[in-house]
Subunit: 138 residues, 2 copies
């Protein structure tokens, strides 16, 4: 499957996971990344919290995020009134969610997430949605 | 232009109008109406208010809304924590916005909006976004 197809499949999976919580409701943004107006992949809310989520899926290893993508997620989130999150799905490992302050740094002010960083600093889905007590964020 | 094409064009116009306010930021929902999960056409926020908007465009006359469409907009809005609105664009008249309580009633518990109802009970865009004092809602 292409990287893009894999990303779209993961995004749909996450959309349904939020719907199935029974408390959050998700929206997938049309044309995310294809208009000059910053939009996250998903926006979800439960009447108390609103999350703007940029989703990625990968087999293993690490994923780089251009500074521009992270800046746009911040701009969107500040203006909308949402918390910005990176959702990253590793094959055989499932979803991890990272606060922007917990991303790794790469060259030229870009960002990255590895499985190691996700495990150390990330939240699981159930933690993100508040079903379990959140781990201390490093 | 087909009714659907006209609706999509109007939805994009409204999306850009919210972006250009400099305070609200809009998201167009992907596949609105094509998944079993209720999603409005647009969701917009400014950090204080969140609006879930179902958009329609018509030449003149009136527009019927099946009860199911209105019920789904309510379900979405309650769960997300958004205000539900109907945005309706008449040719040569522009946009009007109606609170669900201000829609007209039609047969079989369905709803409708006519230009006359829109003018009497609706808000203009600038009123909706709070740039001008809102009219008394009837």
């Amino acid at each position: 499957m292409s990287t893009k197809g894999k990303g779209t499949r993961a995004e749909r999976e996450l959309f349904h996971m939020f719907w199935e919580t029974g408390s959050f409701i998700p929206v997938r943004a049309a044309g995310s990344g294809s208009t000059p107006i910053p939009n996250p992949d998903l926006i979800v809310g439960n009447g108390e919290k609103t999350f703007a989520i940029e989703c990625k899926a990968l087999k293993s290893g690490s994923k780089y995020f251009p500074k521009k993508e992270i800046d746009e997620l911040k701009i969107f989130s500040e203006r909308f009134g949402a918390e910005p999150w990176i959702g990253i799905r590793f094959d055989n490992e499932g979803w991890w969610f990272l606060d922007l302050n917990n991303l790794g740094k790469s060259k030229k002010d870009n960002f990255m997430v590895s499985l190691d960083i996700a495990r150390k600093r990330g939240l699981r889905f159930e933690e993100l949605i508040g079903k379990f007590k959140q781990k201390k964020i490093i």
